[in-house]
Structure formats: structure tokens, C-alpha cells
Amino acid sequence: MAQTETTSLPIAAPRVRSGARAATWLGVAPFFLFALMFLIGPTFMLLIGAFQDAEGQFTLANMAKLLQPNIVSAYWISIKVSAASAVLGAAFGFGLAYAAVLGGLPRFVRPVLMTFSGVASNFAGIPLSFAFLATLGRLGLVTVLLMELFGFNLYRTGFNLLSFWGLTLTYLYFQIPLMVLILAPALDGLKPEWREASSILGASGWQYWRHVAFPVLWPAILGTTLLLFANAFGAVATAYALTGSSLNIVTILLYAQIRGDVLHDQNLGYALALGMILITGISNGAYILLRARAERWLR
């Protein structure tokens, strides 16, 4: 560039311009530096570590170790709990959002539900597990009341809060509200005219949902469900405080691994982490792909 400059042209001009452009990029430098140092860098180092042995040599041994039965089962339970709580959360959340937005209920219902959802979706972790222990634990209010009022022993039925269903039931407490929060605006996007147009063309209410409303909402429902899945899959605190180490889910396995409670094999830990990122990454990737297909009729 400098070669084309002649004395007749002010040399300073392009320099100022490129300087200004550098300054423009400088404006976002702190953010990218921060993201690199505290988000991308550390995660990337884990991914590298997953393919290294203790001496830093390349190996696939850690990946192979992921196939140990207890690790596979940990992943499997995690996936089951996450999937169950995501699908049920999406279904019940949809029902609640539908009732509040389109159900023709009094006006106060909606803001109350939305505010409560904002609170409940953030009421996760340790205190949530306390709340469920105090309610459905062996001495919990509901357990005791069922026993005293109906002579019904909840725990005789095989129910256990420290189990797959117990954990799923607990996770639903933040999953359902999250679905409500995201889906209510999407339900607002359904134009009343669509329903009227379909009705006047002879469609029943069910046919309207089947052919119009549900296909329009599908990307939002699917996307939120996958978000709920990732949300549950990465959760540690609720399960840890609820079940201690008795329920073998992958986050608790990794937690114990990091704390050095169990066998101390750092590189296996990296592989565990890689597996987790893969699963949340795949669920998000699937969401993006499906969404692109479902949304080809949107801008």
C-alpha cells in the first residue's frame, strides 16, 4: 500500500484511516480477551487434555475409559433425567403458558404466573433440594400428610426422592417455569386471524392446532426443550444436595473426580468434561439444524 503513495497524496490520510479501524477493533478487544481467557481458553485446554496422558503425550486411552460401565451408566442416567425433565417440563410448561395466554382466564393470571416463573426458574440448586426434601422426603409434609390423612405410604410404592423420578420431579420445578417464560411470548405470536381464517375454511379447533398453530410454534417448543435438556444436564448442586453421591449422574461423578473424592485421574476427568460438552453441543446443534428446517417459512 505504501508503494502507491506519492508525495502529492497526503500520506497521513490512509494511516489515520487504518488507525481508526484498529481503534474500532480495539473497542471490542477487552470482551474478546475476556472470553478467550475465562471461557474459550480453559474449555479448550480441557478438550486438549482429554486426548493427553499424564505426561502430555497424545492418547485415546481417556476416551476408551469413558466406556467403563459405571461411566456409561452415569451418562445414561444423566441423559435420562435431563430428557425426562426437559420433555415433561416442556409439556407442562406449554400447558401452563397456553392456559395463561390463550385460555381466556382472568387478566391477573398471566402476570402472576410470569412473575412466579421468573422466581422459580432461578430457584434451583441447594435450596431447591431442601424444599423437596422437606416436602416429599421421608418426613416431608406431603409424605406425612398422605400417611396421616389417607394411610397412604408414599415410600411403600417404591417412590424415592433420591431416585431417577425424584430427581426429575425436582428438576421440573425450574424446568417448567423456564418453558413458560420462553413460550408465552411465542404464543402471543399466534395471530387470532389465523384461527379465524382456519375456522371459516371449515377447520375444527384440533385441525387448526394440527396444521397451523403447532407447526408455527414447533421451533420454539423444540428449541426450548433442548435448552431445558442442556440446563438439566449441566446441573450439579440440586442433585448433589439431594442425593449426595448416591445417584450416579455424570455431573456428580465429575464433581467427585475434581474434588479428588474418588480415583484421581485428571485426564479421565477431562474426557468426562469433553463428553458433557459433546452432548450439550449436539443437542444445541440438533436444535439449530431442526430449527433451520422448521423455519424455512420465516425470514
Binding site: 475465562f38 400447558g95 422459580a120 430457584f123 440448586g125 431447591l128 426434601l133 416436602t135 449441566g234 446441573a235
Partner: protein, 263 residues
């Protein structure tokens, strides 16, 4: 064609049952400490515990630091992206959403490896540096919410015109950002801030694995060793979360009303 309202009422009733029972159950349980009668003993025990006070203070301090750092980092970035580099918006948005894909436990595991005592930047080696690392971690966790809140706020105002107007009056960049832009997105920033506060105050994994005395670690400890105090703690945590969300509502409505008056 009035919609049939029985179904919706049943849905709301079942939802209310599911969501209120644990709260009622917890509250009832928290009152049972004294034999044979209800009392607030569990709350007294908890509130009088110096470790409760210190862990709440510590977490609250970190939350405030997280909010300040988060705003200082995100507001200029979001502003700059809107003003000068709209092409970068998808990239920045993707980065801010990454914490939803990368579970916190993986993130902190990465920190432990990246900043261990033998690394180029041994932040886990000393207590103050670890506090800083923990705060940065919280900033990362709050990124999806904070960025979205601020970006939504910026979208609602005409960033370019405001900037040009301020520039034409001779204002510097910093003046524009903190005396023109920030006041205009204050309610958006505040709602992001309260959400961040709620997240940080209850966060367990980062604090626990970086070995810092955060509130959630204290709760976990109490939960493992005591019977009635955890229920009292859960109620306290719920009230705090409710307070944060309530403040978001208040500030959200304040903005709405200001706009209604203008219109």
C-alpha cells in the same frame, strides 16, 4: 365462540399445587424445630450463625463485583457492536450464549487446569486471585442474561443518533457511554443486575470447587449436618430470589411507565 375454560383452570390449579406445595412444605418443616409447637427457632439459629453471616456477605460482595465487572465489560462492548461493528453481532451473541452449552462444572474444571499453581497465570495459588477468578467465572455465567438485557435495552434507544448528538456537543467517548447511554438503558441494566445477583447468591459449583466460602457451600454444609435449618435456609433463599425478581419487575414497570408518559 367462548373458549372452554375448564381445561385452563385445571392446568393453573395443578401448576399452583405443584409449585406451592414444596414452599408450604418447606415453610412448615422450618417451623418444626421446637418439639410439639411451631417456632422460628430454626431461623434464629441460622441467622445467628456467624458462618451464615460471613458466607452471605461474601457471596453478596462477589455478586456486586460480578455486576460491576459485567456492566463495565458488556455495556461498552454491546454499545460498540451496535455503533461500529454490527457485523460482529452474531459472533458476540454466540460467545455470550456459550455458557448455556458449557456446563459450569466443566468451566470451573477448565479454570483449575488453566490457572493451576504451575500454570503461566497461577490464579488459584493465592486467595485474592482466586476470588478474582471466581468473580470472572460468575461474569461468564451471567453473560447470556446480562448481554441479552443490555442489548435489548440498547435496541430500544437510537444509539447512533444519541452518540452523534453528544459528539456534536463535544462529549468524549466515556462521557457518552456513562452519562448518555447508560442512563437510557438503566432499567435494562438493572434487571440484568438483579438476575445476576440471584444467580451468584445461589451458585454452588464454582465456589465449592474453587474452595471459597460461598453461601451455597454453607447451605450444603448445613444440609448435610442439620435437620430443620436447611428448610429455613431454603425459605430465606426463596425470599431473596423473589426479592431480586420483584426488583426486576419494579424497574421494568418504571421504564414502561416513563415511556407511556412520553408517548
Amino acid at each position: 365462540m367462548k373458549p372452554n375454560r375448564i381445561g385452563p383452570w385445571i392446568a393453573i390449579a395443578l401448576g399452583a399445587l405443584y409449585f406451592l406445595l414444596p414452599l408450604i412444605g418447606t415453610f412448615e418443616f422450618s417451623l418444626r424445630m421446637r418439639r410439639g409447637e411451631y417456632s422460628f427457632d430454626a431461623y434464629q439459629v441460622v441467622l445467628a450463625d456467624p458462618r451464615f453471616q460471613s458466607s452471605v456477605a461474601y457471596s453478596a460482595l462477589l455478586a456486586v463485583a460480578t455486576i460491576v465487572i459485567g456492566i463495565l465489560l458488556i455495556l461498552p462492548t454491546a454499545y460498540w457492536i451496535r455503533l461500529k461493528l454490527p457485523r460482529l453481532a452474531p459472533v458476540v451473541e454466540f460467545i455470550t450464549l456459550m455458557p448455556l452449552i458449557i456446563p459450569p462444572i466443566v468451566l470451573v474444571f477448565g479454570y483449575l487446569r488453566f490457572y493451576n499453581s504451575s500454570s503461566f497465570l497461577p490464579m488459584t495459588g493465592n486467595v485474592r486471585a482466586t476470588d478474582l477468578l471466581l468473580t470472572f467465572g460468575y461474569v461468564v455465567l451471567s453473560l447470556p442474561y446480562m448481554y441479552r438485557a443490555i442489548d435489548t435495552g440498547l435496541r430500544a434507544i437510537d444509539v447512533r443518533t444519541l452518540t452523534e448528538a453528544a459528539e456534536s456537543l463535544g462529549a468524549s467517548r466515556a462521557t457518552i457511554l456513562f452519562r448518555v447511554i447508560l442512563p437510557n438503558v438503566r432499567s435494562a441494566v438493572l434487571s440484568g443486575a438483579f438476575l445476576t445477583f440471584a444467580i451468584v447468591i445461589g451458585e454452588f459449583v464454582l465456589g465449592s470447587l474453587l474452595n471459597r466460602p460461598v453461601f451455597a457451600s454453607y447451605m450444603q454444609l448445613v444440609g448435610a449436618n442439620r435437620a430443620y435449618e436447611p428448610a429455613a435456609l431454603a425459605i430465606i433463599a426463596f425470599v431473596v430470589t423473589w426479592g431480586c425478581m420483584g426488583l426486576i419487575q419494579v424497574f421494568g414497570r418504571a421504564r414502561y411507565m416513563a415511556r407511556a408518559e412520553k408517548g
